[in-house]
Protein backbone atom coordinates (compact mmCIF):
# COMPACT_ATOMS: atom_id res chain seq x y z
CA UNK A 1 0.00 0.00 0.00
CA UNK A 2 1.28 3.43 -0.87
CA UNK A 3 1.51 5.16 2.48
CA UNK A 4 2.71 8.51 1.18
CA UNK A 5 -0.59 9.23 -0.52
CA UNK A 6 -2.62 7.35 2.07
CA UNK A 7 -5.64 9.32 3.25
CA UNK A 8 -6.13 9.79 6.96
CA UNK A 9 -9.43 9.45 8.84
CA UNK A 10 -9.88 10.35 12.50
CA UNK A 11 -12.60 8.48 14.34
CA UNK A 12 -13.84 10.13 17.53
CA UNK A 13 -15.03 7.66 20.13
CA UNK A 14 -13.91 4.05 20.50
CA UNK A 15 -17.24 2.47 21.32
CA UNK A 16 -18.78 -0.19 19.16
CA UNK A 17 -19.42 2.23 16.29
CA UNK A 18 -15.97 3.78 16.42
CA UNK A 19 -14.15 0.45 16.60
CA UNK A 20 -16.16 -1.15 13.82
CA UNK A 21 -15.91 1.87 11.50
CA UNK A 22 -12.15 2.10 12.11
CA UNK A 23 -11.70 -1.54 11.19
CA UNK A 24 -13.77 -1.14 8.04
CA UNK A 25 -11.92 2.03 7.01
CA UNK A 26 -8.60 0.38 7.51
CA UNK A 27 -9.79 -2.50 5.36
CA UNK A 28 -10.60 0.03 2.64
CA UNK A 29 -7.01 1.23 2.74
CA UNK A 30 -7.10 4.32 4.88
CA UNK A 31 -4.87 5.32 7.74
CA UNK A 32 -7.11 5.52 10.79
CA UNK A 33 -6.62 7.18 14.16
CA UNK A 34 -9.15 6.19 16.80
CA UNK A 35 -9.52 8.69 19.66
CA UNK A 36 -11.03 7.73 22.99
CA UNK A 37 -11.65 9.88 26.06
CA UNK A 38 -11.62 6.90 28.45
CA UNK A 39 -8.50 4.90 29.35
CA UNK A 40 -9.62 1.94 27.26
CA UNK A 41 -11.61 1.19 24.15
CA UNK A 42 -15.10 -0.25 24.33
CA UNK A 43 -17.37 2.61 25.33
CA UNK A 44 -20.63 1.60 26.95
CA UNK A 45 -19.94 -2.04 26.07
CA UNK A 46 -17.50 -2.03 28.99
CA UNK A 47 -20.39 -1.62 31.41
CA UNK A 48 -22.18 -4.77 30.23
CA UNK A 49 -21.93 -8.29 31.54
CA UNK A 50 -23.97 -10.36 29.10
CA UNK A 51 -25.72 -9.14 26.01
CA UNK A 52 -29.25 -9.79 24.78
CA UNK A 53 -30.66 -11.74 23.04
CA UNK A 54 -28.43 -14.80 23.63
CA UNK A 55 -26.66 -13.72 26.83
CA UNK A 56 -23.33 -13.72 25.09
CA UNK A 57 -20.64 -12.23 27.37
CA UNK A 58 -19.93 -8.63 26.44
CA UNK A 59 -16.23 -9.29 26.90
CA UNK A 60 -16.33 -11.73 23.97
CA UNK A 61 -17.91 -9.19 21.66
CA UNK A 62 -15.51 -6.57 22.89
CA UNK A 63 -12.58 -8.89 22.33
CA UNK A 64 -13.71 -9.60 18.78
CA UNK A 65 -14.11 -5.90 17.97
CA UNK A 66 -10.75 -5.08 19.55
CA UNK A 67 -9.02 -7.84 17.61
CA UNK A 68 -9.91 -6.04 14.40
CA UNK A 69 -8.07 -2.91 15.44
CA UNK A 70 -4.63 -4.14 14.38
CA UNK A 71 -2.75 -1.44 12.49
CA UNK A 72 -5.08 1.28 13.68
CA UNK A 73 -3.57 4.13 15.59
CA UNK A 74 -5.56 3.94 18.87
CA UNK A 75 -5.18 6.86 21.27
CA UNK A 76 -6.99 6.44 24.58
CA UNK A 77 -7.39 8.94 27.44
CA UNK A 78 -7.36 11.67 24.84
CA UNK A 79 -9.63 14.66 24.58
CA UNK A 80 -9.85 16.92 21.59
CA UNK A 81 -9.08 20.48 22.51
CA UNK A 82 -9.57 22.12 19.19
CA UNK A 83 -10.56 21.37 15.63
CA UNK A 84 -9.70 23.64 12.73
CA UNK A 85 -10.21 23.24 9.04
CA UNK A 86 -7.49 24.14 6.57
CA UNK A 87 -8.54 23.75 2.95
CA UNK A 88 -10.14 20.30 2.88
CA UNK A 89 -8.23 19.01 5.89
CA UNK A 90 -9.15 18.94 9.54
CA UNK A 91 -6.49 19.76 12.09
CA UNK A 92 -7.22 18.30 15.51
CA UNK A 93 -5.35 19.32 18.64
CA UNK A 94 -5.39 16.65 21.33
CA UNK A 95 -4.83 17.25 25.05
CA UNK A 96 -1.41 15.56 25.05
CA UNK A 97 -0.20 18.12 22.55
CA UNK A 98 -0.51 15.87 19.49
CA UNK A 99 -1.79 17.53 16.36
CA UNK A 100 -3.58 15.29 13.90
CA UNK A 101 -4.43 16.01 10.31
CA UNK A 102 -7.46 14.29 8.84
CA UNK A 103 -9.12 14.13 5.45
CA UNK A 104 -12.35 13.04 7.08
CA UNK A 105 -13.68 12.91 10.60
CA UNK A 106 -16.13 10.35 11.91
CA UNK A 107 -18.10 11.36 14.99
CA UNK A 108 -18.97 8.24 16.99
CA UNK A 109 -19.38 9.72 20.44
CA UNK A 110 -22.26 7.49 21.45
CA UNK A 111 -24.67 8.00 24.29
CA UNK A 112 -24.60 8.36 28.05
CA UNK A 113 -27.01 6.58 30.36
CA UNK A 114 -29.79 8.73 31.82
CA UNK A 115 -28.87 10.24 35.17
CA UNK A 116 -31.33 8.56 37.53
CA UNK A 117 -30.83 11.22 40.20
CA UNK A 118 -33.02 13.43 38.04
CA UNK A 119 -36.11 11.35 38.85
CA UNK A 120 -36.05 12.27 42.51
CA UNK A 121 -39.42 10.63 43.18
CA UNK A 122 -37.81 7.26 42.45
CA UNK A 123 -35.30 7.80 45.24
CA UNK A 124 -32.06 6.91 43.46
CA UNK A 125 -29.19 8.12 45.62
CA UNK A 126 -31.65 8.73 48.45
CA UNK A 127 -32.77 5.21 49.30
CA UNK A 128 -30.33 2.37 49.83
CA UNK A 129 -31.96 -0.19 47.61
CA UNK A 130 -32.69 1.69 44.44
CA UNK A 131 -30.35 0.75 41.60
CA UNK A 132 -30.05 1.45 37.90
CA UNK A 133 -29.78 -1.14 35.15
CA UNK A 134 -26.14 -0.08 34.81
CA UNK A 135 -25.55 -0.88 38.51
CA UNK A 136 -27.15 -4.30 38.09
CA UNK A 137 -25.05 -5.07 35.03
CA UNK A 138 -21.94 -4.09 36.99
CA UNK A 139 -22.99 -6.40 39.86
CA UNK A 140 -23.43 -9.27 37.45
CA UNK A 141 -20.05 -8.55 35.88
CA UNK A 142 -17.95 -7.82 38.93
CA UNK A 143 -19.64 -9.55 41.83
CA UNK A 144 -21.43 -12.33 40.00
CA UNK A 145 -24.22 -11.85 42.53
CA UNK A 146 -27.07 -9.47 43.06
CA UNK A 147 -27.44 -8.47 46.69
CA UNK A 148 -29.22 -5.70 48.55
CA UNK A 149 -27.18 -2.90 50.06
CA UNK A 150 -27.06 -4.81 53.35
CA UNK A 151 -25.78 -7.91 51.57
CA UNK A 152 -28.91 -10.01 51.53
CA UNK A 153 -30.38 -12.07 48.74
CA UNK A 154 -33.44 -10.17 47.48
CA UNK A 155 -36.77 -11.92 47.73
CA UNK A 156 -38.65 -9.47 45.55
CA UNK A 157 -37.28 -7.15 42.88
CA UNK A 158 -39.07 -4.59 40.72
CA UNK A 159 -37.73 -3.43 37.34
CA UNK A 160 -38.98 -0.02 36.22
CA UNK A 161 -39.02 0.53 32.47
CA UNK A 162 -38.74 3.91 30.72
CA UNK A 163 -36.73 5.79 33.34
CA UNK A 164 -35.73 8.98 31.57
CA UNK A 165 -37.19 7.81 28.27
CA UNK A 166 -40.60 8.74 26.88
CA UNK A 167 -40.72 11.35 29.60
CA UNK A 168 -41.48 14.98 28.83
CA UNK A 169 -40.59 15.93 32.37
CA UNK A 170 -37.09 14.54 31.94
CA UNK A 171 -36.95 16.35 28.61
CA UNK A 172 -36.67 13.07 26.68
CA UNK A 173 -39.58 12.36 24.41
CA UNK A 174 -38.03 9.42 22.57
CA UNK A 175 -37.96 5.70 23.33
CA UNK A 176 -34.46 4.42 24.15
CA UNK A 177 -35.22 1.13 22.41
CA UNK A 178 -33.01 -1.25 24.37
CA UNK A 179 -34.29 -0.82 27.94
CA UNK A 180 -37.31 -3.10 27.54
CA UNK A 181 -35.26 -6.00 26.29
CA UNK A 182 -32.54 -5.27 28.84
CA UNK A 183 -35.13 -5.44 31.62
CA UNK A 184 -36.37 -8.77 30.28
CA UNK A 185 -32.79 -10.00 30.11
CA UNK A 186 -31.85 -8.84 33.61
CA UNK A 187 -35.12 -10.08 35.10
CA UNK A 188 -34.57 -13.50 33.55
CA UNK A 189 -30.97 -13.61 34.73
CA UNK A 190 -32.07 -12.70 38.22
CA UNK A 191 -34.67 -15.48 38.22
CA UNK A 192 -32.01 -17.83 36.91
CA UNK A 193 -29.80 -16.84 39.83
CA UNK A 194 -32.55 -16.87 42.47
CA UNK A 195 -35.51 -18.99 41.34
CA UNK A 196 -37.40 -18.17 44.55
CA UNK A 197 -37.11 -14.42 44.10
CA UNK A 198 -40.26 -12.70 42.82
CA UNK A 199 -39.41 -10.48 39.88
CA UNK A 200 -41.73 -7.84 38.43
CA UNK A 201 -41.36 -5.67 35.36
CA UNK A 202 -43.38 -2.45 35.36
CA UNK A 203 -43.79 -1.23 31.80
CA UNK A 204 -45.80 1.32 29.81
CA UNK A 205 -45.49 -0.57 26.52
CA UNK A 206 -43.25 -3.57 25.96
CA UNK A 207 -41.23 -2.92 22.85
CA UNK A 208 -39.81 -6.29 21.80
CA UNK A 209 -38.95 -5.09 18.34
CA UNK A 210 -36.18 -7.32 17.08
CA UNK A 211 -35.96 -10.85 15.80
CA UNK A 212 -35.29 -12.84 18.98
CA UNK A 213 -36.72 -10.49 21.55
CA UNK A 214 -40.24 -11.84 21.64
CA UNK A 215 -38.75 -15.24 22.42
CA UNK A 216 -36.90 -13.67 25.35
CA UNK A 217 -40.17 -12.19 26.59
CA UNK A 218 -41.88 -15.54 26.24
CA UNK A 219 -39.07 -17.28 28.12
CA UNK A 220 -39.18 -14.65 30.84
CA UNK A 221 -42.88 -15.40 31.35
CA UNK A 222 -42.83 -19.16 31.11
CA UNK A 223 -39.33 -20.41 31.84
CA UNK A 224 -38.29 -17.87 34.44
CA UNK A 225 -41.65 -16.77 35.82
CA UNK A 226 -41.15 -13.01 35.60
CA UNK A 227 -44.38 -11.07 36.20
CA UNK A 228 -45.19 -8.19 33.90
CA UNK A 229 -47.37 -5.36 35.21
CA UNK A 230 -48.56 -2.64 32.90
CA UNK A 231 -48.13 0.56 34.87
CA UNK A 232 -45.60 3.29 35.33
CA UNK A 233 -44.03 3.96 38.71
CA UNK A 234 -45.18 7.26 40.17
CA UNK A 235 -43.18 7.38 43.38
CA UNK A 236 -41.17 5.27 45.78
CA UNK A 237 -40.68 5.44 49.53
CA UNK A 238 -38.32 3.67 51.87
CA UNK A 239 -39.70 1.52 54.68
CA UNK A 240 -38.12 1.28 58.13
CA UNK A 241 -36.35 -1.95 57.15
CA UNK A 242 -34.86 -0.25 54.07
CA UNK A 243 -37.15 -1.89 51.60
CA UNK A 244 -38.77 0.15 48.86
CA UNK A 245 -42.52 0.79 48.83
CA UNK A 246 -43.62 1.59 45.32
CA UNK A 247 -46.82 3.06 43.95
CA UNK A 248 -48.03 2.07 40.51
CA UNK A 249 -51.37 1.53 38.93
CA UNK A 250 -51.95 -1.96 37.60
CA UNK A 251 -53.65 -0.43 34.60
CA UNK A 252 -54.94 -3.75 33.30
CA UNK A 253 -56.70 -4.46 36.58
CA UNK A 254 -57.57 -0.77 36.79
CA UNK A 255 -56.53 -0.25 40.38
CA UNK A 256 -53.66 1.50 42.10
CA UNK A 257 -51.23 -0.94 43.64
CA UNK A 258 -48.80 -0.71 46.52
CA UNK A 259 -45.91 -3.13 46.61
CA UNK A 260 -42.85 -3.46 48.76
CA UNK A 261 -39.71 -4.73 47.06
CA UNK A 262 -36.22 -5.49 48.34
CA UNK A 263 -34.60 -3.92 45.34
CA UNK A 264 -35.83 -1.46 42.78
CA UNK A 265 -34.05 -1.39 39.43
CA UNK A 266 -34.44 1.68 37.21
CA UNK A 267 -34.02 0.94 33.51
CA UNK A 268 -32.16 4.09 32.53
CA UNK A 269 -32.44 5.16 28.91
CA UNK A 270 -29.96 6.64 26.48
CA UNK A 271 -29.21 10.33 26.34
CA UNK A 272 -27.34 12.27 23.72
CA UNK A 273 -24.03 13.64 24.94
CA UNK A 274 -23.72 17.36 24.91
CA UNK A 275 -19.94 17.49 24.86
CA UNK A 276 -17.78 20.45 23.90
CA UNK A 277 -17.31 18.77 20.55
CA UNK A 278 -20.97 19.40 19.72
CA UNK A 279 -20.29 23.13 19.85
CA UNK A 280 -17.26 23.10 17.56
CA UNK A 281 -17.93 25.51 14.71
CA UNK A 282 -15.56 23.53 12.49
CA UNK A 283 -17.57 20.33 12.86
CA UNK A 284 -20.78 22.32 12.51
CA UNK A 285 -22.84 19.54 14.05
CA UNK A 286 -26.58 19.96 14.18
CA UNK A 287 -27.87 18.94 17.60
CA UNK A 288 -31.54 18.05 17.82
CA UNK A 289 -33.89 19.09 20.60
CA UNK A 290 -33.40 15.61 22.03
CA UNK A 291 -29.62 16.19 22.10
CA UNK A 292 -28.94 13.55 19.48
CA UNK A 293 -27.15 14.62 16.30
CA UNK A 294 -29.09 15.30 13.13
CA UNK A 295 -27.94 13.75 9.88
CA UNK A 296 -28.47 15.57 6.59
CA UNK A 297 -31.26 13.20 5.66
CA UNK A 298 -32.70 10.63 8.03
CA UNK A 299 -33.75 8.40 5.12
CA UNK A 300 -31.00 8.49 2.56
CA UNK A 301 -27.96 10.15 4.12
CA UNK A 302 -27.97 8.85 7.66
CA UNK A 303 -24.22 9.13 8.14
CA UNK A 304 -23.70 12.56 6.64
CA UNK A 305 -23.41 15.62 8.83
CA UNK A 306 -24.06 19.05 7.43
CA UNK A 307 -20.36 19.72 7.13
CA UNK A 308 -18.37 18.25 4.26
CA UNK A 309 -15.92 15.65 5.50
CA UNK A 310 -17.66 15.13 8.84
CA UNK A 311 -19.58 11.85 9.23
CA UNK A 312 -21.76 10.33 11.93
CA UNK A 313 -22.12 6.78 13.21
CA UNK A 314 -23.65 4.92 16.11
CA UNK A 315 -25.83 6.08 18.94
CA UNK A 316 -24.82 9.72 18.68
CA UNK A 317 -27.64 9.98 16.13
CA UNK A 318 -30.21 8.15 18.27
CA UNK A 319 -30.77 5.00 20.33
CA UNK A 320 -29.59 1.81 18.61
CA UNK A 321 -28.80 -1.75 19.57
CA UNK A 322 -25.56 -3.51 18.65
CA UNK A 323 -26.50 -4.93 15.21
CA UNK A 324 -27.82 -1.53 14.17
CA UNK A 325 -24.66 0.17 15.39
CA UNK A 326 -22.47 -2.28 13.46
CA UNK A 327 -24.47 -1.77 10.28
CA UNK A 328 -24.40 1.98 10.78
CA UNK A 329 -20.63 1.98 11.34
CA UNK A 330 -20.06 -0.05 8.18
CA UNK A 331 -22.31 2.26 6.19
CA UNK A 332 -20.45 5.27 7.55
CA UNK A 333 -17.12 3.78 6.50
CA UNK A 334 -18.44 3.31 2.97
CA UNK A 335 -19.75 6.88 2.85
CA UNK A 336 -16.33 8.13 3.90
CA UNK A 337 -14.74 5.95 1.24
CA UNK A 338 -17.05 7.37 -1.42
CA UNK A 339 -16.34 10.90 -0.26
CA UNK A 340 -12.57 10.44 -0.33
CA UNK A 341 -12.68 8.71 -3.74
CA UNK A 342 -14.65 11.57 -5.22
CA UNK A 343 -12.15 14.05 -3.84
CA UNK A 344 -9.10 12.23 -5.13
Amino acid sequence: MDTSSQRHVVVIGAGIAGMEASAQLQGLGYAVTLLEEQPQTGGNLLTWDRLFPFKRPASEVLGELRSRLGGIHVLTSRRILNIEKLNAQFILTVNDGTVLTADAVLVATGFKPFDAYRKEEYGYGIYDNVFTSVDIERMFREERRILTRSGEVPRRVGFIHCVGSRDEKAGNRYCSKVCCVTAVKQASELKEMYPDCEVFCFYMDLRMFDRHYEQMYLDAQTRYGVTFVRGRLSEAAETIDKRIAIKVEDTLVGKPMKMTVDMLVLMVGMEGRTTQLYNSPTLGLSVGKDRFLNAVDEYTDNNLSRTEGVFLAGTCTGPKHIPEVLADAGAAALRIHRYLCQKA
Binding site: E121, C162, R166, D167, E168, K169, M204, D205, R230, G231, R232, L233, S234, E235, K247, V248, E249, D250, T251, G254, K255, P256, M257
Partner: protein, 117 residues
Amino acid sequence: MVNFGFTINKSTRIDYDQASKDVSRYVIAHEPSALLCIGCGCCTATCSAGQFTPFNLRRIQLQVHRGELARLEQETEKCMLCGKCQMVCPRGVNTRHLVMTIHKAMTLYNRGELKDL
Protein backbone atom coordinates in the same frame (compact mmCIF):
# COMPACT_ATOMS: atom_id res chain seq x y z
CA MET B 1 -81.12 2.10 45.50
CA VAL B 2 -77.81 2.66 43.83
CA ASN B 3 -78.06 3.66 40.24
CA PHE B 4 -75.38 1.87 38.27
CA GLY B 5 -76.26 3.74 35.11
CA PHE B 6 -77.41 0.76 33.08
CA THR B 7 -80.39 -1.56 33.02
CA ILE B 8 -80.39 -5.31 32.94
CA ASN B 9 -81.41 -5.41 29.30
CA LYS B 10 -78.45 -3.50 27.99
CA SER B 11 -75.30 -5.19 26.92
CA THR B 12 -72.31 -4.32 29.12
CA ARG B 13 -69.94 -4.06 26.21
CA ILE B 14 -69.11 -0.66 24.80
CA ASP B 15 -71.44 0.07 21.94
CA TYR B 16 -69.16 2.48 20.17
CA ASP B 17 -71.64 3.13 17.36
CA GLN B 18 -74.30 4.32 19.78
CA ALA B 19 -72.02 5.97 22.32
CA SER B 20 -72.04 9.73 22.60
CA LYS B 21 -68.83 11.37 21.46
CA ASP B 22 -69.97 14.84 22.49
CA VAL B 23 -68.26 14.80 25.87
CA SER B 24 -65.04 13.54 24.33
CA ARG B 25 -65.16 16.26 21.68
CA TYR B 26 -65.87 18.94 24.28
CA VAL B 27 -63.05 17.75 26.52
CA ILE B 28 -60.50 17.63 23.70
CA ALA B 29 -61.53 21.08 22.49
CA HIS B 30 -61.21 22.60 25.94
CA GLU B 31 -58.18 20.67 27.14
CA PRO B 32 -56.24 19.50 24.09
CA SER B 33 -53.61 17.80 26.23
CA ALA B 34 -56.22 15.05 26.80
CA LEU B 35 -54.95 13.64 23.51
CA LEU B 36 -51.50 13.05 24.96
CA CYS B 37 -52.49 10.29 27.38
CA ILE B 38 -50.88 6.88 26.88
CA GLY B 39 -52.64 5.33 29.86
CA CYS B 40 -49.54 4.60 31.92
CA GLY B 41 -51.50 5.00 35.14
CA CYS B 42 -48.98 7.25 36.85
CA CYS B 43 -51.69 9.74 37.74
CA THR B 44 -53.79 7.09 39.43
CA ALA B 45 -50.83 5.59 41.23
CA THR B 46 -49.85 8.88 42.83
CA CYS B 47 -53.38 10.19 43.36
CA SER B 48 -54.11 11.71 46.77
CA ALA B 49 -57.83 11.06 46.42
CA GLY B 50 -57.06 7.52 45.28
CA GLN B 51 -56.07 6.68 48.85
CA PHE B 52 -59.65 7.11 49.99
CA THR B 53 -61.78 6.39 46.96
CA PRO B 54 -61.68 4.43 43.72
CA PHE B 55 -61.06 7.69 41.83
CA ASN B 56 -59.11 6.76 38.70
CA LEU B 57 -58.29 9.55 36.28
CA ARG B 58 -56.80 7.24 33.68
CA ARG B 59 -60.00 5.21 33.47
CA ILE B 60 -62.28 8.24 33.63
CA GLN B 61 -60.62 9.92 30.70
CA LEU B 62 -60.70 6.71 28.66
CA GLN B 63 -64.39 6.30 29.48
CA VAL B 64 -64.98 9.83 28.22
CA HIS B 65 -63.50 8.95 24.85
CA ARG B 66 -65.47 5.68 24.63
CA GLY B 67 -68.74 7.36 25.57
CA GLU B 68 -69.06 5.37 28.82
CA LEU B 69 -70.50 8.30 30.70
CA ALA B 70 -72.44 6.81 33.57
CA ARG B 71 -71.63 8.44 36.92
CA LEU B 72 -68.64 10.32 35.55
CA GLU B 73 -69.86 13.64 36.95
CA GLN B 74 -69.89 12.23 40.47
CA GLU B 75 -66.57 10.46 39.89
CA THR B 76 -64.76 13.69 39.06
CA GLU B 77 -66.06 15.22 42.28
CA LYS B 78 -63.68 13.02 44.22
CA CYS B 79 -60.59 14.88 42.99
CA MET B 80 -58.77 17.21 45.40
CA LEU B 81 -56.97 18.95 42.53
CA CYS B 82 -53.72 18.63 44.52
CA GLY B 83 -51.70 18.45 41.31
CA LYS B 84 -49.45 15.48 42.06
CA CYS B 85 -50.68 13.72 38.93
CA GLN B 86 -49.69 16.73 36.89
CA MET B 87 -46.19 16.54 38.28
CA VAL B 88 -45.70 12.85 37.49
CA CYS B 89 -47.41 12.65 34.09
CA PRO B 90 -44.72 11.64 31.58
CA ARG B 91 -46.64 13.21 28.73
CA GLY B 92 -47.29 16.58 30.35
CA VAL B 93 -51.08 16.26 30.38
CA ASN B 94 -52.72 19.18 32.15
CA THR B 95 -54.50 16.78 34.45
CA ARG B 96 -56.06 19.22 36.90
CA HIS B 97 -57.80 21.11 34.17
CA LEU B 98 -58.69 17.84 32.50
CA VAL B 99 -60.65 16.81 35.59
CA MET B 100 -62.38 20.17 35.73
CA THR B 101 -63.18 20.03 32.04
CA ILE B 102 -64.62 16.53 32.25
CA HIS B 103 -66.75 17.62 35.17
CA LYS B 104 -68.00 20.65 33.29
CA ALA B 105 -68.71 18.61 30.18
CA MET B 106 -70.57 15.99 32.18
CA THR B 107 -72.64 18.60 33.99
CA LEU B 108 -73.65 20.09 30.67
CA TYR B 109 -74.23 16.65 29.16
CA ASN B 110 -76.43 15.51 32.02
CA ARG B 111 -78.46 18.69 31.72
CA GLY B 112 -78.79 18.09 28.00
CA GLU B 113 -76.96 21.34 27.29
CA LEU B 114 -73.94 19.88 25.59
CA LYS B 115 -74.56 20.86 22.01
CA ASP B 116 -72.19 20.82 19.10
CA LEU B 117 -69.17 22.94 19.80
